[in-house]
Each structure stands twice: as C-alpha cells, then as structure tokens.
C-alpha cells in the first residue's frame, strides 16, 4: 500500500510533462488546432504527434519487449495517460490503448508481430467498428456479416458512430459469422485494412462541433489471418477489450485539468476565499481525488497481474460523472459569460468550458454510458439477477 509515486515514477511523470510542455507550445496550439473541428487537433498533426510518442517510447510501455514494448508496469501507462489528458494532447485514443491491449490478449503471434511494433512506433490509427444503427447498447444485435470465401472473409454491412474512421489505417471490426440466435454467439472479430476496396465513409456533424462518421462495407475482403480469436467466439474478445477500454477511459488527467482550470479562474478573479465557491470547489476536488484514486487502483490491480472487470466500469463511471460535475460547475462559475463561444468578446478560456459541456455529453451514453455501466456493476460486481 503506497499512495505516493516512487522516485522513478515521479521522474517519469516529470519527463512526460516536460515533453508535452515542450511539444505543445502556444504557437502549436494556435496553428495545429483544427478550425473546422471543435476541440480537435489537425489530423496530420495528430498522426505526426503519435509517431513522436512512439519515438519517445511512451506507447506500449507495459508490453513485452519482443513487440516493441518497454516492460514497465501499468502504473506508468496511467501516469502517461494522466499527463496526456491533463495537457489535452493529441493521439491518446484506442489506437495506442485498448486495441493493442486486446491484440496482446487475444491476437495470434503473427498478428502481434505484424501490428504491435508498428503501433508502438505510433504509425497506426484505428477505428473501432462495433456500433451499428440497430446495435448500440445492445451490441450483440449487430448485423454486419463476414462470410468465408476461400482464404478470405467477405464483409458487408454498416457501422455507425465511427470515431476517427476517416484517418484510420485499420478497423477493429465486429461482424456476424454465425447464427443470429443466440445473439452473442456467431460474432467474430477482424482486423480490416481501411485501404481495402469496398469501403465508403460518410460524415455527420455533431452538436459538439466536430465530425463523426459512418462506414459502409460492401463485399470487403479480409484475409483469414486477420480473424482475431476463434470464429464465432468474438463476444468474449469484445468483452475483454471493453475492460481494457474502460481502464483507458478512466484516466484521471481530464478532471485534474478541469479542477486546475477552475482554480486558476477563481484565483484570477480573487475569489479563492468566497465561501460558497469554496464549498463547491472542496466538493469537486474531493470527487476529483476519488476519480484519481480509482484510476490508480485499477492500474495497481493490473500491475499485480489481476484482471479487473466491473472495477474498470466503476472507475470510468466515477471519472466521467466527475467530469460532468465539472462541466456544469464550470458554466456556473462563469456566470453570465458561460454561453460565450470561442472568438466572442468576453469568452473565458476561449469558450472551452461551454464547448466541453457539449462535447462531454457523450460520456453519459457512449462506450458504456452511465446507465449501462450501472447495469454492469450490478450484474458483474454485485451478482444481481438479470
């Protein structure tokens, strides 16, 4: 039991912080944010930045050295993720967090050898093809089909809400290979090269001001060698991958940043001794500390070789509910100026707080939203009957 970073972990945190501070200068913030995509970095900058993260050795720190990893404990990955979120750096997404973790756990040796070193070098962007128009929370309802044909599978179907599909080299795809009933059987996981013929991407603007995608697969050929796990047994791969996903999403840097931003604002306004605000900030800081401990608790369990399951759901719920508290409290703190957006006279923090209030809305329902996560905790954590 030790709540402090070790000297080595501390040094690592300082190193990552220094790296990010040096890379993400004010000039970079001015030029590399995408003016057409609220809150996003330019696509090419993100890709280049991910390669820098790879070169600095920050991707795959916890993987075996044979696959380009650094053999470090999960605590280092959490420190890295915390710093990345805190600095609002680009590139911390599925491409370097849960996709490679899932590949490590479920991929063949050949798949690991083919993909992990490239992922560790930051060369690959991935999109996750789970959701479909009729398969959201009820993911097992997915209908995209993969039909065996010679030494390939042929994939046809539609994926929805496909984050960053437009910049992905590969898709982590769930498709139906077997019977429709029972729903969880008959699903398989594939790695799909996004250069393959037959893929079309549509764009949908979001209320947060950035663009989301839908992806259509029309008789896309995927070699057998890119089936992940056993055929028709993809559901267990998805469930395992989702635990990694939740662990990654639980990183506490966002809420630490949100707290510090409000503290900076209160200090600037000379309101640090306002008792009403003091009570609010005391509550928020306590929740933020809880979220931080949850995340490092998961990292500690991983570091001990355990496989936390519902615990990761609890951690992501805690982090995201805390982030939403900050979103609302942030608007409240800005008073009459709360609705002002970027570029407007009087906008605080360049309108970021209002923009995040819109952006983070998805925390409530996407990738195991608040209600689905409570289902998971109740069933898997407490054993309550279905």
């Amino acid at each position: 039991m030790d709540f402090d970073l070790t000297a080595d972990e501390h040094a690592f945190r300082d190193e990552v912080c220094a790296f990010l501070t040096a890379e993400l200068t004010e000039a970079v913030w001015r030029t590399e944010r995408d003016p057409d995509e609220q809150g996003q970095w330019r696509r090419e900058f993100t890709k280049a930045f991910r390669r820098k993260l790879g070169a600095a050795g920050y991707i795959g720190m916890g993987w075996p050295a044979a696959y380009g990893g650094g053999g470090k404990s999960r605590v280092y990955q959490t420190i890295f993720a915390e710093e990345m979120e805190y600095h609002r750096a680009p590139g911390l997404d599925r491409s370097i967090t849960y996709v490679p973790n899932a590949l490590l756990a479920f991929g063949t040796d050949a798949q690991k050898a083919e993909f992990l070193p490239r992922i560790a070098r930051g060369e690959l962007s991935w999109f996750v093809g789970y959701s479909e128009p009729e398969a959201g929370s009820d993911l097992a309802n997915l209908k995209a089909r993969a039909v065996p044909d010679g030494s390939d599978f042929v994939v046809t179907g539609q994926k929805a809400f496909s984050s960053e599909a437009h910049m992905a080299e590969y898709c982590w795809l769930a498709a139906r290979t077997g019977p429709v009933s029972p729903k969880h059987r008959g699903i398989s996981m594939f790695i799909v090269d996004m250069q393959s013929p037959g893929i079309r991407i549509d764009r949908y603007p979001t209320l947060a001001g950035w663009t989301h995608h839908a992806v259509y697969f029309d008789a896309v050929r995927v070699p057998d060698a890119h089936l992940v796990g056993e055929i028709d047994r993809g559901w267990s791969v998805i469930m395992g991958a989702i635990d990694f996903e939740r662990a990654a999403l639980a990183a506490p840097g966002l809420v630490a940043f949100q707290l510090d931003r409000l503290l900076a604002h209160a200090r600037e306004q000379g309101r640090l001794d306002d008792p009403v605000l003091g009570d609010q900030l005391a509550r928020l800081a306590t929740e933020a500390e809880g979220a931080r401990l949850m995340s490092y608790w998961i990292a500690s369990l991983h570091a001990h070789g355990e496989m936390p399951q519902f615990e990761t759901s609890m951690a992501v719920l805690c982090k995201r509910e805390t982030a939403r508290l900050f979103d609302a409290a942030g608007l409240e703190m800005l008073g009459a100026f709360a609705p002002l957006r970027a570029g407007s006279p009087g906008a605080c923090f360049d309108g970021d707080i209002e923009a995040e209030y819109r952006d983070h809305l998805y925390f409530q329902f996407a990738a195991g939203g608040f209600d689905i996560t409570r289902n998971v905790i109740a069933h898997r954590g407490l054993g309550l009957p279905r």
Partner: protein, 391 residues
C-alpha cells in the same frame, strides 16, 4: 504507487471481520446501546487477547508493532459488525495520544496497560455548545504543586469504564496556552452524565468542578498540547471515516442479499433495474470512500502531512455513507423499519459517525480554508503550475 492491500493487511481485515461479526448477537448489541458500559467486557477481553487493543503499540510496550493503517482496518471491521468496544476511546484517542505525545511517566505507566486491554482511558476534548473546538472554555488554573480544572466536556467516550480521562484545558502556564491533563475518573469533582445518542457509543458529558490534580498530571511536555490535539483530531476524523466505510459495507451487503431473495411481482427485487442502479451507485460511492480513507490512513500512518486527505475522506464518507444507508432502507421497505432487522443499527451509527470529529460541512470548510490560504496543499500532489493552457 500501489493501491492494493498487502496480503497481511487483507488477512488482518478478514480475521478481524470474522471475529467482530460473530462476537455478539444483534439483540445483545441493541441491549448494550444505552447501557452505562456500552460494551461487553468478555468480548473486549477477547479483542485484547487477539492483539487488537495493542495493534498500534510498539512490541516493547506489549503491542503488536503495527501502524495506524492496520488500526483503521480493525476499526472498519468493528463498524461493519456494529460491534461496540472501547477501542476508539482507549486506543485511537488516549492510547495513541500518550504514545505519540505523552511524557515518559504517563507513557510507561499507561500504554502497556492500554495495549493489554487492562486499562481503558479516554479523552475529554469537545465542549457543549462548541463541538467544533473554536475555543476551549475549560481551564486548568495553576495552584502550588498542581492545577485546578473547571469546565464541562462532552462526547467523552466510555467515561464510565475509563480509569482516567485525558482532558484538554486552557492553561496560562503553557506556551501554546493549552494543556492535556490526565484526570483519574474517580476524583472528587468529576461528574458525568450519559448522553442519549443515536449510534452505539457510550458517550458522556463530563463536568470538572474544581478538580485538583498534581503538576505531574500534565500529559505532554509544555507547549506540545496543541500539536498532540491536532494529531488527535486528524486521527479521529480518519478513523471515523474508516468506521463509516465499515458501516457502508454492512448496509450494502444487507441490501444486496435482500434484493436477491425478496420476491415481488414474481421476481427478485434485485432484477428490477431501478434497484440495480441504486445498488451500483452505493457500491461505487463506497469504493470512492474506501480509497479516500485508505489514502488518509496511509499518509497519517507514514507521518506525512495529511490535512487535505483527511478532510476529503471525512467529508466524503460523512456525506456518502448516511446517504447510502438511506438508499439501503429504500430498497428494503417496511421490513427494515422494525428494530429487529439489523439495518437500523447502521442507519443510526452512520449518523453518529458522520457527526463525530467534524461532519461533512466542517471538513469542506477546512478544505475551503486550504483553498484560500494554501492552494498548493489544496491541490495535492500535482506538479503543474496554474493556470494550465493558453486562453
């Protein structure tokens, strides 16, 4: 960074819990509630034999040489079992105070007996009408060769069974203006009245009416009382948070077990999503409380500054655990409204533990004070400067 219990700590916790849960029947616990003694002497004897009363004291004083973190696990287990004992008064309050800040004569005289469970000591710190200790009205007036103590203290734990009461008073002799004096409870002029309180502790108001004690009654070196008091308050808050975590765990366990077996509309209650979501929220809140409490206890145990962490732990547990017990009752319905169902033990103990050693508002005020006067401490172990990003 490693936020997991060691194997030893984990097994200490399960052993403690297994004993605590079987030590007394719920009927007996209820019967003790209001009695003068407040606990079962035989059980306390067993707890001492198992080494609990001595767990935090050094080996050479007859203790087990463990730390405050392990003590927190035991207090949590007692909270989870609603098991009354003089552990808090004698070990958490008086015993550790003597160990950490006591002058040699008192340390040597009392700590081994406290560790062995042979003597119970308690502390008299809080005062009526001033439970948050803004000022201390009780006085220790210097007399030739001693002091005369006048004043009234409240929330004194186990005053009827304690041999002596470590009493906080204002004292003009002392550089910090305060003194802690060891007052044998049988002295003339010491009067006590049982408080009738929610929860299971035997709490007393104790009046000191011209009580004279010798100069050797001083517990600490001159000028050390305030520091000893600060440590006592931090420790008390942290271990009340530990007790609250135990209370919350018990309420959640009862609720989940009930939800799995109670059938309405031809289904177990626990299959209804409204019930499931309540339970999930309870579980999540309990985990946050436990992590915050662990952090506060680990820092205190290591002698690190823990103002922020203790305040967060006590503020959060004092809010969240009583709320958790309210939800627990909601899921039980009428059955747990009756005294013979164990949930009420936790409902009432949550109220008492939340109020003791500073409630949620008190500790948030402490955090707000840090915010206004010591921003770095308020932010904790964060190395970035403020503000964070270009506007």
């Amino acid at each position: 960074m490693d936020i997991t219990l060691t194997k030893e700590a984990d097994s200490l916790r399960s052993t403690a819990l297994a004993f605590a849960q079987h030590a007394l029947t719920h009927d007996r616990i209820r019967a003790l509630e209001g009695s003068d003694g407040g606990f079962e002497p035989d059980v306390w004897r067993d707890m001492a034999t198992m080494g609990w009363s001595g767990c935090v004291f050094p080996l050479e004083m007859g203790g087990a040489g463990l730390g405050l973190f392990e003590l927190a696990l035991i207090v949590e287990a007692c909270g989870q079992a609603a098991l009354p004992s003089p552990m808090f008064a004698s070990v958490v309050e008086a015993g550790m105070l003597l160990l950490e800040s006591g002058v040699e004569r008192h340390r040597a005289a009392w700590v081994p007996r406290i560790a062995a469970g042979d003597a119970i000591l308690t502390t008299a710190v809080f005062e009526p009408g001033n439970a948050e200790l803004e000022t201390v009205a009780t006085t220790a007036t210097p007399l030739p060769g001693g002091y005369r103590i006048d004043g009234t203290k409240t929330f004194v734990r186990d005053a009827a069974t304690a041999r002596a009461i470590v009493t906080l008073a204002r004292c003009p002799d002392s550089p910090d203006g305060l003194a802690l004096l060891l007052v044998p409870s049988g002295l003339r002029g010491v009067r006590r009245q049982r408080l009738s309180s929610s929860g299971g502790e035997a709490l007393w108001e104790v009046a000191f009416d011209g009580v004279s004690v010798p100069a050797t009654a001083l517990v600490t070196e001159p000028g050390q009382a305030l520091a000893a008091l600060d440590r006592l308050l931090a420790r008390g808050a942290c271990l009340k948070a530990a007790e609250l975590v135990g209370i919350g765990q018990a309420a959640l366990d009862l609720t989940v077990a009930y939800a799995k077996t109670r059938v309405q509309f031809e289904r177990p209650l626990g299959s209804f999503q409204a019930v499931q979501h309540h339970c999930a929220t309870m579980y999540r809140d309990l985990r946050v409380c436990r992590l915050l409490m662990w952090e506060a206890a680990a820092r205190l145990a290591a002698g690190q500054p823990a103002q922020r962490e203790v305040a967060m732990a006590k503020a959060k547990t004092s809010d969240a655990i009583p709320a958790l017990t309210r939800t627990a009752h909601q899921i039980h319905g009428a059955i747990a409204y009756y005294r013979d169902y164990p949930l009420e033990l936790y409902y009432t103990r949550a109220v008492a533990a939340a109020a003791a050693y500073g409630n949620a508002t008190y500790h948030r005020r402490a955090l707000a004070h840090l915010l206004a006067h010591d921003l770095d401490t308020f932010r904790g172990d964060i190395h970035h400067g403020l503000p964070v990003r270009p506007r």
